[in-house]
Structure formats: structure tokens, C-alpha cells
């Protein structure tokens, strides 16, 4: 009996040791996070789906359990802010879109993370903050010179077209970022590819009110003249400058694409437009770089897999191209009761190794090393051509990074959508946008005498080119 007890005890001890061995942490300090549970709030998007595939490995390595709550994109900000302003600490990590960083950071809802980056107890030795593209890191995560998150995905918006249908229509699509791909070219191409008799529409646009600030804005920028760049909708004195002929022309152009969509397309969001393209019912569609792998190049999508070409949004009549900057970062909630564990998760998820590992699931690059990797060129060949754009041309303030952006975007969307449904003219829309945006800025205190106004970093983009490690 004593011998049996010894054997059983030995087996139990071995099992215990084995279990412990499976949950080792990166540093001795991080071992204390074993058994912790983290809650993450993020939108339901392909690039996030890609990185969540790595979560089991993180849980195994650190012994930290991660729960991910996903929400539809158009509800993410609401759900995030409801939790943030209650301060319950329900979520430890938030996915933050670049367009909401200013709002969240200014309200004090995000934890500055530089101190964690510089802490060797919490950050892997080869994390190398300077490996992130400067504009991607600063654009995504820096507000008031302070670093609030680490980018997990970034890229420009663009357009995707069926190259087989283009060829059948006798159209050769120019290379990405080629200025030959302008608004006239695009409309002409769409017209030729629009075959409703075959059940194929020319272009699946996204004119729903909530999305207008994302899908229409590239056209507002494209229709500028070289001397109006920088004043697309905000002037040097923060006054609204949107009520002008460029805006009217850009709205007219955007709405003119309506004839290549179904009559009931006014409420099409990203989901509807993407579905139409994925089922082979649209010759072209709006895209965001980080969506390409999951939405348009998944081999399981037999109707479109391998048949698409991905280009930028068109240049305008004067050759101006939209300097789109889209990105998502992972932030630590200021109300989290386990900030260090949350940072452990973030630094692991955005490390060089994991970013490379996530490529095969459809994630995108935010680091120099990932952009230049052979792996990226092999699994996602549409990415390397965006490297120079993200390095030098992109403007993180394309959607101005101020707390009032959500309201500005909504105003743009409401008025634009009203033009789309024929309720008002583009001229009225531009005037209404100016009036309502001015009211929003006034409410935000921008026109109060003596107000301390933020710097308009987009007028000197070298601000965003600062070395990542130099931010505080």
C-alpha cells in the first residue's frame, strides 16, 4: 500500500510539474501573471480574426487567459466608449481605430504605454519599437506627443476590380498608385464593366451614412487642387473650409457612381458591398488594405479568388491622390486592474515574430521587417507596393485626429447620404456640412478666445516621421 501511494504521488507530482512547465512566462516578473484573465474588445474584422488565431499560443506561453469580445465595426466606438466612461475596467485591452485615438486619449481613457515598452521586465528584448514604420506608429498611437497604443494593422483604402471582367471589357487597369488611374478612368472603366443584364453591377460602393466618412473622404481629397491640399475641410484657424466647389464636385462624382449600383443601394455598408463582390455580382468594390486577404483573396471564395486586382482610390482631375491612413492599435485601458498583464499581451501580439506568423492568416504589416519579408511577398503580394506610401505619402490626419472627428464624420455621412437618395443637392450638402461642422467645432471650444488649440500636424508631416522610440 505504501509503495502504491508513492507511485501515485510521483505520478501526481509529475503531472503538476508538466502542467506548470506548459505555462512558462517570458520573464520571471511576468510569471506572476499566470492565471490572469484578460478581456479584449475589438471589431469583427478579418485582420483581427487573423491575429486572434495566435491567442492559444500566447495563453500557453504566459498562462494568461484571453477573452475576446467582437462587435460590428459600426458599433465598436459606441460599445468602447460606454465601457470607458463608466470606468469599470471590464475590458483590459481596447482595439482603437486611428480616427478615435484623439477622442479616447483626450478623455483620459487610455494608458500611456511607453513606460511599458522601456521596461525590460515586461517587454521582449527584441520588441524593437523602431522597427515600426514611423508614420504608422505615430499616426496610430501618438496623441499630444504621448504613445498610447501599438499598431497591429495599417494601410490605405483603395478599390478592387475583377481583372477578368476588366479584360473582357477591353480595359487595362493601371498599377497601384499610378496617376493614370484617375476619377475619369475609373468611372469609364466601371461603365464598361457594368453588365446588369448578366447580373453584374459596375461598382459596389459603400454609401451608408455611417461609412461615408471612410469611403467618400478619398474623393474629397482627390478633387482638391495642389494649392488647396491641407485645407480640405479645416483651415489653419480651425475654421471649416468644406463649403467649396471641390467638395461639390467630389460629392457629384461619388453620387454619379450610384447608377452602377442597385436602386436600393443607399444603405449599403461594407458588408453589403463586400457580399455583392464576393458572390460575383459586382465588377469592382471599395477595399481597405487589411481586408484584402480575408475578403477578396481567400481561396475558399471560388467566384473571385485569384481574379482581383487591388489599386488605390483614383487620383482627381488635377492629379491629387488621397493620402489615406487607416490603422488599428491595441491599447491598455486606464481602468484596467491588470495593466502589466494587458501590456504583456499587446507586446507579444505586435512582436516581430507574431506579426510574421499572423501573415498566413491574413494579417498585415506595420513593421519594416514585416514589409520587407519574403513571407509577406509570398502570401500577400499586394502589400509590398504600399510600403513607400505608408512610409512617405500617407497622412495620419487625413481624418483629422481630434475628439470631434466622430461628429464631423457623421455630419459628412448624413449630408452625403441625403444627396445620394436625392433629398438635397451637393451644393446644399456642402453648405449644411459647413454649418453643422462649425457648430461641432464651436462646441469643442475651438473658437473660444484664448483657447489652447492643438497643432495641425498635417501641415508638416515630418512630425509623424519622428523615430518611434523618441515619443514619450
Amino acid at each position: 500500500m505504501t509503495r502504491l501511494k508513492t507511485i501515485l504521488g510521483g505520478v501526481a507530482l509529475a503531472a503538476l510539474l508538466a502542467g506548470t512547465g506548459l505555462a512558462f512566462a517570458e520573464t520571471d516578473y511576468q510569471k506572476k501573471f499566470q492565471g490572469t484573465e484578460l478581456n479584449v474588445l475589438a471589431p469583427s474584422m478579418p485582420q483581427f480574426g487573423a491575429i486572434w488565431k495566435l491567442v492559444p499560443q500566447f495563453e500557453k506561453e504566459y498562462g494568461i487567459k484571453v477573452h475576446v469580445d467582437e462587435t460590428p465595426f459600426d458599433q465598436t466606438r459606441e460599445k468602447t466608449l460606454v465601457d470607458m466612461q463608466q470606468g469599470t475596467g471590464r475590458y483590459d485591452v481596447f482595439a482603437v481605430d486611428v480616427m478615435w485615438l484623439a477622442e479616447f486619449a483626450a478623455a483620459g481613457f487610455l494608458e500611456p504605454v511607453k513606460k511599458y515598452v522601456d521596461d525590460p521586465k515586461l517587454t521582449e528584448a527584441d520588441f524593437e519599437l523602431n522597427d515600426f514604420l514611423p508614420r504608422i506608429l505615430s499616426g496610430t498611437g501618438v496623441f499630444n506627443d504621448t504613445l498610447y497604443n501599438i499598431p497591429m494593422g495599417a494601410g490605405p483604402v483603395g478599390t478592387t476590380f475583377r481583372k477578368d471582367l476588366a479584360a473582357a471589357a477591353g480595359v487595362t487597369i493601371p498599377a497601384k498608385f499610378d496617376a493614370k488611374f484617375n476619377t475619369d478612368f475609373m468611372r469609364d472603366m466601371i461603365k464598361k464593366m457594368h453588365k446588369p443584364e448578366n447580373g453584374v453591377i459596375g461598382f459596389a460602393n459603400v454609401p451608408a451614412r455611417w461609412f461615408w466618412g471612410v469611403t467618400y473622404l478619398p474623393y474629397l481629397y482627390a478633387f482638391q487642387k495642389p494649392d488647396t491640399v491641407g485645407n480640405e475641410y479645416i483651415g489653419p484657424d480651425w475654421k471649416i473650409t468644406i463649403n467649396n466647389q471641390h467638395t461639390i464636385d467630389s460629392i457629384d462624382y461619388y453620387v454619379s457612381l450610384k447608377q452602377y449600383m442597385p436602386a436600393d443601394g443607399a444603405s449599403w455598408g461594407i458588408g453589403e458591398a463586400t457580399s455583392a463582390y464576393q458572390s460575383g455580382k459586382a465588377a469592382g468594390v471599395w477595399n481597405y488594405q487589411d481586408f484584402i486577404a480575408g475578403f477578396f483573396e481567400d481561396p475558399k471564395m471560388k467566384d473571385i479568388a485569384g481574379k482581383s486586382v487591388h489599386v488605390h482610390t483614383p487620383a482627381g482631375p488635377d492629379g491629387v491622390q488621397d493620402p489615406w491612413f487607416g490603422s488599428w492599435g491595441l491599447s491598455v485601458s486606464v481602468a484596467s486592474k491588470q495593466k502589466e498583464a494587458a501590456w504583456t499581451f499587446i507586446q507579444w501580439m505586435t512582436s516581430k515574430q507574431q506579426q510574421l506568423a499572423a501573415l498566413k492568416y491574413g494579417a498585415g504589416p506595420t513593421r519594416h521587417s514585416t514589409f520587407k519579408s519574403e513571407e509577406l511577398a509570398k502570401v500577400a503580394p499586394w502589400w509590398p507596393s504600399s510600403y513607400q506610401f505608408m512610409l512617405k505619402q500617407t497622412n495620419p490626419d487625413e481624418r483629422v485626429r481630434i475628439p470631434e472627428w466622430a461628429e464631423i464624420s457623421d455630419i459628412m455621412g448624413l449630408q452625403g447620404n441625403r444627396v445620394w437618395i436625392g433629398e438635397i443637392s451637393s451644393k446644399e450638402a456642402a453648405a449644411n456640412m459647413e454649418k453643422d461642422m462649425t457648430a461641432a467645432m464651436k462646441k469643442g471650444g475651438y473658437y473660444t478666445a484664448g483657447a489652447k488649440l492643438p497643432k495641425q500636424a498635417w501641415r508638416d508631416l515630418s512630425y509623424y516621421d519622428r523615430k518611434p522610440s523618441e515619443w514619450k
Binding site: G108, R209, D264, A266, K281, L414, I421, G445
Partner: protein, 331 residues
């Protein structure tokens, strides 16, 4: 007589035949003060838990809303200075064209939806007065829409009207294409979108009218009908001079409840159109949610909700006064 001392206790015990006992009354304990013996206080003691709960979930939020509405709090911008602004939020609402637009849409939605629901519900209730085969089963089927969660109703109908692929858009589009007409943009046209959400509301809440009015019809005595039949009154005359007047109390209940609910409709509109296209289905409650949960302007949202509450109270008051006056006149 035994004289009582200042302590209230007698110096010597009273003896039989000594007259009225001069024992000073004892101070009542808590049990006696709050117990069944105290007929003035005891009912309140029994109601206290309910009153506290009602105060907690009703009165406190109301007072808190009043306080919020008199400030300038934007929850997503805690760095903005907060101050007492008096009636500014109400003034700002009244001067806001979006408010009047939302109010107009709310009135159209409420009047149209309740009107249709009433007459359809009444028609069904009258039909069910007859002998019908399978009445019990049909009644359950009729009541089903009312039982489904409004959010789910919105989702079901959103997909039924899905552009190009929904059940309704597919078959209606197919029918109209026979006449060379493109498919109807149910949720994409500003006029059609409002009528579509009204249609869904009617589908969902006609059963409620049916239920209330059926109960009302069942409670009407048979004698007036018998007398009318003897007098040779037509069905139409019977309906207007007997059924409708006697049904007034039920009609009042049904109309007041449905008007209040229709005024505040949110779930189905939010799911189906999100207030669009444009702002063609942005009713007051949809707008309120946008102000409160998209822009986190808590003070403006509180002021708006208080104004909506006032409007609903006034509407209900008008209904009750009008119906009561008509009922009194009739009797």
C-alpha cells in the same frame, strides 16, 4: 384615588373599587408604533419596500435626469468644464431643426401606425366574435408577432427587405419587373423606408390591439344587441351605436398604450434602417440614442427624454379627457 407620582407609577398599587386606575400610559415601543395596532402608520410600513423600489427606479432617475438636463455634460469629453446651464438644453433643442424633423417623423409614424393597428385589430377582433374553425390555433398564430422580441422582428424584416436578395424584395421586385418597373427600394428610399418601418410596426403590434379589443368585445353584454335586433337595426348601425360606445374603455386603454409605445419605437427602426436613409426614419427615440450613445451628450439626451416624457403625458391626458367626455355624453 391613588395619586400618581411624577414617574407615572402609582406609589401604592390600585385596589379594586378605588375608582379609575391612575396608571400612567407606557411609551409605545417601535413594534407598537409601526405594528398593526397603529392603523394610520401600518399601511405605509407595508408599502415601504415597494415605495423604496419605485423611488429607486423611478423617482431617483427622474431627478437625476432633471439635474443632468440642467448641465452641459458630455461623457466622452470629461475634460470640458461642466456647469449649471439652467434651461439652455431645452432651448437648444427647440432651436435645433433636427429636433423638429425627428418630432415630425415621430408624429407621422405614431398616427399612421396606431391608426392602422387599431382598425386591423378591431377587424380581427370582430371576426373572432364569429364561430370559426380552428379559432384557438389561429389566435395563437395571430399573437406570435407580438411575442417576438422587437430586435428580432427588426432583423427578420431587415433581411426580408434585403436589397436584391430578401424574400420580399425578390418576389415584389419580380412582380413589378413584369411591368417594367425596377425593384422597390424599400429601405433605401426616404419615403418608402418610413412606410416600411411603419408596416413592420403594424405587423408586430396589431395583435396587441386585437387582444385588448377582443377582451373588450367579450365583456359587452348581449342585451343591447338583442334589443337592437328586435328593433331591426342594421349591422352597421349596431356597430356604430352599440359596439363602439360600449367598447370605449377598451379602445381607450389600447390607444393610450399603443400611442405611448409607438411614440417611443426604437428597436425595429434602429435595426432596419439605423435612422436612414439620410435621416428619413430618425424618430425622436432614434435621435435620442444617437445624441446619448453616439455623441455621449448626456445633458442634451436627458433634456430630450424629459421633453418626450412630457409629450407622452400630455397625449395620454388628452386621450383620457376626450374619451371620458364622450363616454359621459353617451351615458
Amino acid at each position: 384615588m391613588v395619586a400618581t407620582q411624577a414617574t407615572g407609577k402609582s406609589s401604592t398599587p390600585a385596589r379594586q373599587g378605588d375608582g379609575v386606575a391612575a396608571m400612567a400610559p407606557r411609551r409605545p415601543g417601535l413594534a407598537a408604533l409601526l405594528g398593526p395596532q397603529n392603523k394610520k402608520v401600518f399601511p405605509w410600513v407595508l408599502m415601504a419596500p415597494t415605495i423604496l423600489i419605485l423611488a429607486g427606479i423611478g423617482i431617483f432617475p427622474f431627478i437625476y435626469a432633471l439635474v443632468l438636463a440642467s448641465s452641459n455634460i458630455i461623457l466622452s469629453k470629461p475634460y470640458l468644464a461642466r456647469s449649471f446651464v439652467g434651461l439652455y438644453q431645452y432651448q437648444a433643442l427647440i432651436q435645433d431643426p433636427d429636433f423638429w424633423h425627428a418630432l415630425r417623423l415621430t408624429i407621422i409614424f405614431t398616427v399612421e401606425a396606431v391608426f392602422l393597428e387599431f382598425w386591423l385589430g378591431l377587424g380581427l377582433a370582430l371576426l373572432f366574435q364569429r364561430q370559426l374553425a380552428g379559432k384557438a390555433v389561429i389566435r395563437v398564430i395571430i399573437l406570435l408577432p407580438m411575442i417576438i422580441t422587437p430586435l428580432v422582428v427588426g432583423l427578420i424584416w431587415r433581411y426580408m427587405f434585403y436589397p436584391g436578395a430578401g424574400l420580399v424584395t425578390y418576389y415584389v421586385g419580380g412582380f413589378f419587373s413584369l411591368f417594367g418597373v425596377r425593384s422597390l427600394p424599400f429601405l433605401a428610399d426616404p419615403h418608402w423606408a418610413l412606410q416600411t418601418v411603419i408596416f413592420v410596426d403594424v405587423w408586430e403590434w396589431t395583435p396587441f390591439m386585437f387582444l385588448i379589443l377582443s377582451a373588450g368585445l367579450a365583456s359587452i353584454p348581449a342585451q343591447p344587441y338583442e334589443a337592437a335586433e328586435i328593433d331591426g337595426a342594421s349591422s352597421w348601425r349596431i356597430f356604430w351605436t352599440i359596439t363602439m360606445p360600449l367598447l370605449r374603455p377598451s379602445i381607450l386603454i389600447a390607444l393610450v398604450i399603443r400611442t405611448m409605445d409607438a411614440f417611443r419605437t426604437f428597436d425595429t427602426i434602429r435595426v432596419m434602417t439605423q435612422g436612414g436613409p439620410g435621416d428619413s426614419t430618425t424618430t425622436l427615440n432614434v435621435w435620442l440614442t444617437k445624441v446619448g450613445f453616439e455623441f455621449f451628450d448626456a445633458s442634451k439626451a436627458a433634456a430630450l427624454s424629459l421633453m418626450m416624457m412630457l409629450m407622452i403625458i400630455i397625449l395620454s391626458f388628452i386621450f383620457i379627457r376626450v374619451f371620458r367626455a364622450r363616454t359621459e355624453n353617451a351615458s
